[in-house]
């Protein structure tokens, strides 16, 4: 098991957002976390990355390391990478600077080789190395954010709503890239609004509601489950 989250209770200050979450991700697996706004999806990723949240109880183990005892930076060192919502690029810096800032190792040769590999994966970025990140389109910015994270040689990539604000064909391209990552052995934990599209690509999924896991299963199972829709739009979830 690559990531193992057990009975996690966490939130901000006094506010408890996650109320007992247990989930796992296997190496090379693509797992989706779905659910309506405010269910706690982003908080879950932020807690795994040890960003700003308070953990009341529970455990987060990544590849044998106890992440609750690790700093955000140490987590990156273990190979747990977070591509946050809104991309959080260094918008005033060039594309190439953004990519290189993602490198975790300090070795010049490694960085050059890794950067070359990233540009190979994202040909659109290769042609824009010296442009400022600000000048990129939304889709290119999302690719840059993913490319920057890849520089740290992740074993698992966590993405927070990568499709936000992107046109459908760009979203399809992003999912294509994630499928490629998965094939090359990188696990993906993805938080998405677009439930049905994500279920087309993911292996398994969890549906969060009010900080708890309401449903979980394989993508195919959930795709056919009417309760998913009830969780998003209200109504009864009793029908089974």
């Amino acid at each position: 098991m690559l990531l193992d989250v057990r009975e996690l209770h966490a939130g901000y200050g006094e506010l408890e957002v996650l109320r007992g979450i247990s989930l796992h991700v296997e190496a090379g697996e693509m797992v989706a976390v779905l659910g309506p706004n405010g269910a706690g999806k982003s908080t879950l990723l932020r807690t795994i990355s040890r960003l700003e949240t308070n953990v009341r109880s529970g455990a987060i183990v990544f590849d044998g390391h106890d992440l609750l005892r690790a700093s955000t930076v140490a987590g990156v060192g273990y190979g747990c990478l977070h591509v946050p919502e809104g991309r959080q690029l260094f918008t005033e810096l060039s594309v190439d600077d953004n990519i290189r800032l993602g490198a975790f190792s300090g070795d010049r040769k490694t960085i050059d080789a890794d950067a070359a590999a990233v540009y190979e994966r994202f040909p659109a970025l290769a042609g824009r190395k010296s442009q400022s990140a600000f000048s990129l389109s939304g889709g290119e910015q999302q690719m840059l954010a993913i490319g920057r994270a890849l520089m740290a040689r992740p074993r698992m990539l966590m993405l927070d709503e990568p499709s936000t604000g992107l046109a459908p064909q760009i979203v399809a391209a992003i999912f294509e890239i994630l499928a490629g990552l998965k094939r090359s052995g990188t696990a993906v934990l993805i938080v998405e609004q677009n439930a049905y599209l994500t279920l087309q690509h993911a292996d398994r999924a969890y549906v969060l509601e009010n900080g708890e896991i309401a449903l979980s299963g394989t993508a195919a199972q959930l795709n056919a489950d009417p309760r998913v829709r009830a969780i998003y739009l209200g109504g009864s979830t009793d029908e089974t």
Binding site: G13, E14, L15, V17, P36, N37, G38, E161, T164, G165, P168, E192, Q193, N194, A195, Y196, L197, T198, L199, Q200, V228, R229, Y232, L233, G234, G235
Partner: protein, 592 residues
């Protein structure tokens, strides 16, 4: 009255006693009396700056400019006029104060455009310009200044030397008293709200721009008064004494003494006034000592000397509040003015650069109904709320409230029509108690004036009581009385939401915009919220609600509107909207 203000009110008599005791001690000692007089003169200007910094949350590094206006008005006019001495100084001082007030209004207007460092620089520049004018203007004596300013004389009493001590302190203490009145009144409550959260104050109907300008004008007027006394006391005004250094000194007094209210300013002015005179022979060392003092105070006691005293005073005893009958279900609602729908939005579009956040949205609300506005993240729901309540500019379209076109209005004007609003992140006034928050919510119902506040006229007292009663009624209605004296920043998350709802409804609005009230609430709190919202609607209020909890939305809404990428994609009864394929796609996406 806030704890800070209560401590201030209790400290002022003690400081007045110290002034009297010092005055008696200094009777035979001209150096001491002079130091005391300086302290009073600086105190006048420092009180104004303290209010500006500590109550209105603005900064000025140019107060010497106003001080100079007062000083030069007295110097130039009393030396030029041939009026009887009892009339000459008061008239010249009045002209100086009025001029300083007008210039303060101007600076306040300019200051609206600046914040933080830029405001500091803008006001510093103002001080530099004044210093330059004082230095260069021929009619003000140029670099030499103006000498032989006649002392004010009232009958046999000449205001110079020892009598000047009493004269200056009577003015300073009277000013302190009036300032406390002001802070206790509606103006003070407006300042306090602005200091805590400008935007939240604005949507409660506080004209924040006007009050900020007022703060600058008041600080200018007091600095001008200080200058007028200074010129009369010294008998000579030279431009070098009224430069940037004086502005910094005044700032120092307020920082050392503790900004906000009057006691800190009095203490700070006394400290510096005293050090200035007694440390005269150590001219250079003094600057070093001041510098070190400021570093020490800012790092160790950011509340200044008065902050330390206040901490020692602890919680002041409160007057017992009259108990009110629990009237939880009773809601008084001001009927919407006749004429048109409570809210009508037509072809509203809001763009941020190339991004269209709200795209050609039109709808009308029916009186006494609860309508939910839902949609995925980033759909433009809050942007639409902002456009309705006057926050930010809408690019195209019209917003009409009860038949009145409010397009382009500032938020406080929209609020004044009877429109309440809450925020996604419950923007409570953290440093104020729950009761004070809700009293601020009743701001727009208070009928009193600046002058009534300043002189604590019965109308100001009456307004304060009425707002307090109204706030306590609102708290009782929502069952929140036990929290009345809790500081808002110490509230549990769920209570913050309910207090915000109390604050937004304290003025009995007839149209209420509620932004994600259930976010972060547990099941019990959601049930209570549902009851509260329904009882507001049943009392005749028109509600527009942004909410992500679909069970709550579907169970209480008379109508549901769905926004996606800024466009309304569905509008109708809850059941119909829930089964609309476009809505399903908006929330869950489509496979391709």
């Amino acid at each position: 009255m806030s704890a800070r203000l209560r401590a201030d009110t209790r400290t002022l008599p003690v400081l007045a006693l110290i002034v009297v005791a010092f005055g008696v001690l200094a009777a035979g000692n001209p150096t001491l009396a002079q130091a005391g007089t300086y302290a009073a003169i600086f105190a006048l200007a420092a009180i104004g700056l303290s209010l500006l910094m500590g109550n209105v949350n603005q900064i000025s590094l140019g107060q010497a400019g106003f001080f100079g206006i007062g000083a030069y008005a007295v110097a130039a006019l009393t030396t030029a006029w041939n009026l009887p001495p009892w009339l000459s100084w008061p008239l010249a001082a009045l002209i100086g104060i009025v001029t300083a007030t007008l210039v303060g209004l101007g600076l306040g207007f300019i200051a609206l455009r600046f914040r933080g460092h830029y405001l500091a620089m803008a006001t510093l520049t103002f001080g530099l310009i004044c210093a330059g004018i004082f230095h260069e203007a021929k009619f003000l004596g140029g670099a030499i200044g103006i000498e032989d300013i006649p002392y004010p004389r009232f009958g046999a009493l000449t205001i110079s030397g020892y009598p000047a001590y009493w004269f200056a302190w009577i003015l300073a203490l009277a000013t302190a008293l009036l300032t406390l009145n002001l802070l206790r009144g509606r103006s003070g409550r407006a300042f306090e709200a602005i200091r805590n959260d400008e935007l939240a104050a604005e949507v409660l109907g506080v004209p924040t721009r006007r009050y900020k300008i007022l703060g600058f004008a008041y600080a200018g007027a007091l600095a001008g008064l200080g200058g007028a006394v200074y010129a009369a006391f010294l008998g000579i005004v030279v431009p070098d004494a009224i430069g940037v250094q004086l502005s910094i000194s005044l700032l120092l007094m307020v920082v050392l003494g503790g900004s906000g209210g009057v006691s800190g300013a009095l203490i700070g002015a006394a400290l510096i006034g005293f050090l200035d005179i007694t440390g005269h022979q150590f001219e250079n060392t003094r600057e070093v000592v001041y510098g070190l003092l400021v570093i020490l105070v800012v790092s160790a006691a950011p509340g200044g000397a008065f902050g330390l005293i206040r901490a020692r005073l602890g919680a002041a005893p409160r007057a017992p509040q009259p108990a009110l009958p629990a009237t939880r279900s009773v809601t008084r609602t001001i009927p919407a003015p006749a004429g048109g729908a409570p809210l009508a939005v037509s072809h509203l579009t809001t763009r941020f650069g190339g991004l269209v956040a709200v795209n050609d949205v039109s709808f009308e609300l029916t009186r006494g109904t609860l309508t939910a506005l839902i949609g995925p993240n980033g759909a433009g729901k809050t942007t639409l709320f902002n456009a309705i309540s006057g926050i930010g500019n809408l690019s195209e379209g019209r917003v009409t409230i009860a038949g009145i076109d409010v397009t382009g209005w500032q938020p406080h004007r929209v609020a004044a029509l009877g429109v309440g609003r809450t925020f996604q992140n419950a923007r409570l006034f953290g440093e104020m108690t729950v009761l004070e928050n809700v009293v601020a919510g009743a701001f727009r119902t208070e009928r009193t004036s600046f002058g009534a506040d300043l002189f604590a006229l019965p109308s100001a007292r009456h307004a304060e009581r009425a707002a307090g009663d109204r706030a306590r009624h609102t708290l009782a209605r929502l069952g929140l009385e036990p929290l009345a004296s809790t500081l808002a920043k110490d509230l549990a998350f769920g209570d913050r939401r309910r207090v915000e709802l109390a604050r937004a409804t304290a003025s009995d609005p007839w149209l209420l915009l509620v932004d994600e009230p259930a976010a972060g609430l547990n099941a019990g709190e959601r049930a209570a919220l549902t009851t509260d919202l329904l009882s507001l609607r049943d009392a005749g209020m028109t509600l527009l609600l942004i909410e992500h909890d679909m069970r709550l939305v579907m169970s209480i809404s008379d109508r549901v509107m769905v926004l996606k990428f800024g466009t309304l994609i569905a509008d109708g009864a809850a059941d119909t909207v829930r089964d609309d394929p476009a809505v399903v796609a908006a929330y869950l996406g489509t496979a391709n």
